[in-house]
Amino acid sequence: MISTKAKLTLKALGTVTAVALAMASPTLADGHGGKVKVGLITTLTGGGAGLGVDIRDGFMLAIGQSGNENIEVVIEDDQRKPDVAVQLADKMIQSEKVDIMTGIVWSNLAMAVAPATTAQGKFYISANAGPAQLAGKGCHENYFNVAWQNDNLHEAAGAYATQAGYKNSFILAPNYPAGKDALTGYKRMFEGTPSGELYTKLGQTDYAAEIAQIRASDADSVYFFLPGGMGISFLKQYADSGIDLPVVGPAFSFDQGILQAVGEAALGVKNTSQWNKDLDNAANKAFVETFQAEFGRLPSLYASQGFDTANLILSAMAKADVKDADAFRAALKEADFESVRGDFKFGNNHHPIQNIYVREVIKEGDVYTNKIISTGLTAHQDVYAAECKM
């Protein structure tokens, strides 16, 4: 909960430059000489810290590999509290004079920070949260999302559930913007009728009441979106309840950071993600290898998103000066970098158009992890793009 103030300079992480050279990121020659200051606000302490730590580590890994000395990153901890995030953002924009803000994990925090940032003429590049409000009517020319629009992974899960022949899933999510996006997304692609729909408290850890309702319902499957510790609690309690309905979820409930804490309760569960460590492309192989070498653990999808966000910023820096907002924006929009998820481009609303895969939880040696079993949705774009006037 301490507000860790850490100004990391490039040198701190500049250990793997050889790999960076091999990856030939287009930032080696910065012809524009413009320095860029990035403000990274994320959750580094308290509940949900694992997610923020992964985003930060992925982000700093890419910066370190680039060897680019013209980028300075200021890192602050939001403690998963909207009020803290807003204060930090104000400080970063007004006294630190950052050019770009990024890093926020949670949609309710992003809703408090991103619109205020773009309103002050700065760029906000989301490495995770993608609330519907910012993808549709509320889209902004200076707002980019590298990860996904919140609905995306849930839409893929709905499509998968339909394909798997489920007719009436029981669905639940926390009561906050991303939770609503989740259930909306699932229902959009799910052709059956949900037998029950529940919103739980954000940060809730006991799901006995919800599990009892699942048991009493006539559902043939369960879909849940509970990121971080909430998902661990739910899965352990669900496994202990003796209900054996199949479970489907988005990658957030089965990411690398939490699978070890869930243990065998997660084995065999199908989940949807835009990224996995076994995606076969050169950038991803190098990323997984160097991340593991640097931090001694497997990267999660959050780490991959942090890594891509940094590479997107670096790719734009190679083409334009951040002080020339129009040129820099155009350079960002091109997304001219090797994404670890393979093909990647931005739609009109600056949200990704990308493949979403179906993964299965497996055990490799002693480590629980995911493997891709099929492609859920191909070159998928969010539905809100049509409402965005850009």
Binding site: Y199, D206, M230, D240
Partner: protein
Amino acid sequence: MNTLLLIEQILNGLQFGVMLFLMAAGLTLIFGVMGLINLAHGSLYMIGAFAAAAVAGWTGNFFLALIASLVAAAIVGALVELTIIRRLYARDHLEQVLATFALILIFSEATRWIFGSFPLFLNVPEVLKGSITLPGGIQYSLYRLTIIGIGLAVAVGLFLLISKTRVGMRIRAGENDREMIAALGVDISVLYTMVFALGAALAGLSGALVGAIQSVEVGMGEPVLILAFVVIVIGGIGSIKGAFAGAILVGLTDTLGRTMLPLVFGSFMEASAATTVGSALASMLIYILMAGVLLFKPTGLFGAT
């Protein structure tokens, strides 16, 4: 909603309630005897859970892990009392809140340094896995039933300790008149350390029991701490009996509210709107309960007037 589901939910509420009681008992004892507001009580809960996860990972034995949680939290509690808390008794509540809040930060960061930012693994032991069928055909988790049993046993034990033993007599005397008991030759500082360690041990035990079915992570104690404060305010600060009644009341209200309210609203509203309104109101319910109790009994249900 059928009767079976209702009974299952009542059991869930009861289980949540006894869990809260283990937290609230320590909090209310410490406040009652020493007059100290201890915000770091949630950290002791977390320490219990981490100690249990570490020992379970190391030995593979859940019962050793439970003992470790008790011992670790009690030792940390006693050390903190001896070095820091002791200096706070004479200060006013604001300074106590500031100092114990600082302790939360220190404990959270220290735990993160030692164990890392990622949640730890702690699972229900093999023998308590799965569910059993209760009379009437109710399927209920054996582990949760065990938690109810342990919680009730602790409640009875605490009641006997306070009402029947010499230590309990001193604790009650300490609550009533600190100066007099010191004048009678009782070493009040030893008594304080004991009470603090006892409260800490209960919090640690509660953390370990809950850790097996939830996620063991840094910051897990604070949400529970808030609920524990609600419990002791409802029950009457300083009263063990009040903490028990308050905990069960809060547990039942929260669990039943979460399941019933969306159904109630569903009877006259469109389904998805009912879910939204119902779950929003359910999360406020215990605070409404607290406000209601305070309106009629400003000192809480069993509070001294």
